[in-house]
């Protein structure tokens, strides 16, 4: 295998190439305003099932989105071809469609040149994760599972992407990002036990395949032949992934306009929103920060707004909601320019401490098929999966059958008892890199389970 320095970095458009494409598009443009957004890069993946690689693929793609504005009329056209004739035609099409569009009274003028912090989200090791290296990482899991008499399934995906934005008002930004996720589910051959482990990062070297293998194998073994427990309210110790599965749902409910319009949990009775109100336990602080070294993100947003550090909830109090440029102007706020990442501050309890202090409760590895039930309370339903255990008198005593919950992260964070140190987790259901999230394990009282499941 070639030394790392000789390996090819995944294909993507360079800053110079993006500048040239943007220049060309803006030259073609006859609109009052024009914006061009360029994405390019590789998504590389290796899947494995039944202890062998099942499929793998590398795909390179690029896209150019052109937004043309005439007065208050606007339209977007996206293509994935970069030749001059295609770009010219795409500009013409976006202009033709825009001219036919009704006026948009909420249209905001394009931003002028912006200053962006240098993003810290690119990693060469992730960007050069070729098939052989991915297969080697996968074998660390498949071979251990086979040796243990177990059956592993899983997924490794690495992304390396370049993003550029330019407009007729002189704005230009070019940023590159990488992301990688590696997850595995290890089952017993007779299907009576199942264990999961996963990790996500921007830097592949921080992901440890052997550790993932050992964690999933141990959970598979410990979860064999689970017993049913009655549904109801339980104290739960949520591993960081399980905590993230639910806490990240708050991120989807932060839209300021929905709150101001009375159709959100963050709407205030009688009108307005809950900024300034305490909604969860005072130990809860939720932040998005593109320059957080463990959960970094690009610093240029999709419309060119610089991403900044936003504190959504501080010590349990709502400090900010997500404002787009129009609603921010209307309400006298700053546009959020959010990075789409999430960090929740933690405490100093270890997972062992939380278990030891629990008389009767459940230890949860992760949740699955999480879907909204009632947006008024951010109530979701879903199930535990791949490692659910009973805690009795301070000890994990036996595996239990999976349970369906109907619960809200808001209620949950009001019932917070203890937290561990935050960890970067893989919390997207589909196993892709997803949203970067850093979160502690936590102990919650009165968590609502409504039925049991026979699924293993």
């Amino acid at each position: 295998m070639a030394p790392r320095s000789l390996r090819a970095v995944a294909r993507h458009l360079s800053r110079t190439e993006c500048e040239q494409i943007a220049k060309r598009v803006l030259e073609f443009s006859k609109a009052d305003e024009c914006r061009v957004s360029i994405n390019s890069g590789v998504r590389a993946n290796t899947r494995f099932a039944v202890n062998q690689i099942s499929t793998a693929g590398d795909n390179y793609n690029n896209s150019v989105s052109i937004r043309s504005v005439f007065g208050k009329k606007v339209a977007n056209v996206t293509i994935n071809r970069l030749d001059e004739a295609s770009l010219r035609l795409a500009v013409e099409n976006s202009e033709r469609i825009a001219r036919l569009a009704p006026d948009d009274p909420e249209l905001m003028p394009e931003l002028g040149p912006q200053t962006y912090d240098e993003p810290i989200v690119w990693n060469d090791a992730t960007a050069s994760l070729e098939p052989e290296l991915r297969a080697e990482a996968v074998r660390a899991i498949t071979e251990r599972s086979r040796a243990a008499g177990l059956v592993s399934t899983g997924y490794l995906e690495a992304q390396a992407q370049a993003f550029a934005i330019a407009n007729s008002a002189g704005l230009f930004a070019y940023q590159r990002s990488t992301g990688v996720a590696f997850t595995t589910t290890v089952r017993t051959p007779d299907g009576t036990g199942s264990g999961w482990a996963g990790a996500s990062d921007n830097d592949f070297t921080r992901i440890k395949p052997v550790e993932l293998a050992e964690r999933a194998i141990e959970k598979a073994r410990r979860s064999i032949n689970p017993a049913a427990v009655e549904p109801g309210r339980y104290t739960v110790v949520l591993e960081p992934t399980a905590a993230a599965n639910l806490v990240q749902l708050i991120g989807g409910a932060l839209n300021a306009r929905n709150a101001d319009e009375g159709r959100s949990f963050f709407s205030k009775a009688g009108g307005g929103n809950k900024i300034g109100e305490k909604v969860v336990d005072e130990r809860v602080t939720l932040v998005s920060d593109p320059l957080d070294p463990r959960v970094p993100a690009n610093t240029a947003g999709g419309d060119g707004t610089p991403a900044r550090r936003v504190t959504w909830i501080q010590n349990g109090v709502v400090r900010d909601l997500a404002y787009d440029r129009f609603w921010a102007q209307r309400m006298g706020r700053q546009p959020s320019g959010t990075a789409g990442t999430l960090r929740m501050d933690g405490g100093d309890s270890s997972l062992e401490d939380m278990i030891a202090s629990t008389e009767r409760g459940l230890l949860v590895t992760r949740f699955w098929y999480i879907r909204p039930v009632d947006p008024r309370t951010i109530l979701f339903t879903g199930l535990t999966r791949d490692g659910t255990f009973l805690i009795e008198n301070g000890r994990v005593t036996r595996p239990v059958k999976n349970l369906r919950y109907n619960e809200s992260p808001i209620f949950m964070l009001n019932n917070l008892q203890a937290m561990g140190r935050p960890e970067r987790v893989s919390a997207s259901e589909s196993g892709g890199p997803g949203q970067a999230i850093m979160i502690p394990a936590m102990k919650i009282r009165d968590f609502t389970f409504t039925s049991t499941s026979d699924a293993i």
Binding site: I53, G57, V77, D83, N93, E130, T185, S451
Partner: protein, 537 residues
Amino acid sequence: MSSSRREFLQQSAAAAAAIGIITADRANAAPLSQSQPTGQSDHRELALRAIDAARGAGAQYADCRISSARSQNIGTRERRVTNIGDNETFGFGVRVLVDGCWGFAASADVTADEVARVARQAVAQARANRAAMVRPVEMAPTDPVPNGVWRSPARIDPFTVAIEDKAAYLLEANAAALDAGARFVNSQMFFLKDEKTFASTLGTVTQQTIMRAQPGMTVTMVSADNRDFQTRQSTDIQPKGLGYEHVLDADLKRHAARWVEEARQKLTAKPVEVGRYDLVLHPTHLWLTIHEAIAHPTELDRAYGYEANYAGTSFLAPPEDFLGKFRYGPDFMNVLADRSAPGSLSACGWDDEGVAPEDFYIVKDGMFVDYQTTREQAMWLDAWYKSRNMPTRSHGCSYAQTWADVQFQRMPNVNLLPGEQDLVWDDLIAATENGIAIIGDGSFSIDQQRYNAQFGGQLFYEVKNGKITGMLKDVAYQIRTPEFWNAMDMIGGRRSYELGGAFGDGKGQPAQSNAVSHGCPPTRHKQVNVINTGRNA
């Protein structure tokens, strides 16, 4: 599953070919970009070049899909167009089999040099994967199709309809909702036209044009004190494998006032009391329950553990314990899979490995008899098919969402067939003493083996002594799949059969969206567990 849960699609056969696509007129008939080879004959040459290059590099089997897909969405709220987006993506993917191991690579540069390079890359990929191989892939035979052509039965190509007409359609529908008192209204339309060329080393070359259309509206009402809000989504209107005529037929404007009234009623509806009820389920609701609790667990790759890390496995495993032995439901329960129903989302002439799909029973007279398969997977059931004197052939369930994704097993349309008695919705209501009638799909969640599911809906009605007596809210029902279908005691007849469906059927890693329709009549299920989902914030 996956975020939005609605997605894409495909369409239907003989009728389709006869009808063809009529171009309507005007503004955006021109292609978005120019470098697209004008005739699909160019695509054919490039696809053949790709598979030749793969064979030359050592592949025993190769296929190539070249796709030019155009999509368009228009979104509005109240009296404003919030989004007009037109998207075109063009590229190809090459899949190869080398010594029993798959490799796949894809690229957006559709040129003679690049198709050959990517084909070799796919071969190299397969060789890298060999190191972890335990069992080589074998594929069931299929007949070559040297010159296949298929088109969706769309009458009006949406990309020939002017943007201003589409915007006006939505804004007029919104105006009708606002006139009826809607506090907020969002509406949108989405279209896809995918022109795909497929070639394989078996000598198959097919060219298909697949179209999908989905108009929709959501009405929101907010209580006077800002403490409650309720929505009504236009689930009466389902996505179809059709063209712009589906939008015209849907006529959102005509329905808008009723949806507003229903959303308003939801604000003052009675919270449901938890308990066991007989449920009467409308086709606009039931299609999703069929999707989750019949279509997914009968995917063969799930039964063999291939999706264990995301979509999950199946309670119908191992297959030898269930095929021909498991009672899914009562004798009158018949589940038929197809990719042929005109206007359905999964309809096509050939699947993404060149197999002509067939209609096949999954449940026959209440018994579970077959899984969904691809060429690779059909071989796994060789013994079962031989025991039934059936050929070991793929059911034609291979699909990839775009050129950039590898094809794998995806569900076809999976339909619950109507009963023999000529019963309709009102007959089921009239026969019910103490129940809840549910219209429209809502919240949904099911475990990774498809046992335990929970479903909400759009509208819930209390049924007493054969009559609807009022609206309920905060209703969700929880099921265990085998008990739920075996508790089905009434089923509508042919007249009450409708097609529902979704653009967002998620599966696979990386997650891919499939589009499928599910046809069904209304049904009644005895004594199902109902919970109340309302909590105070």
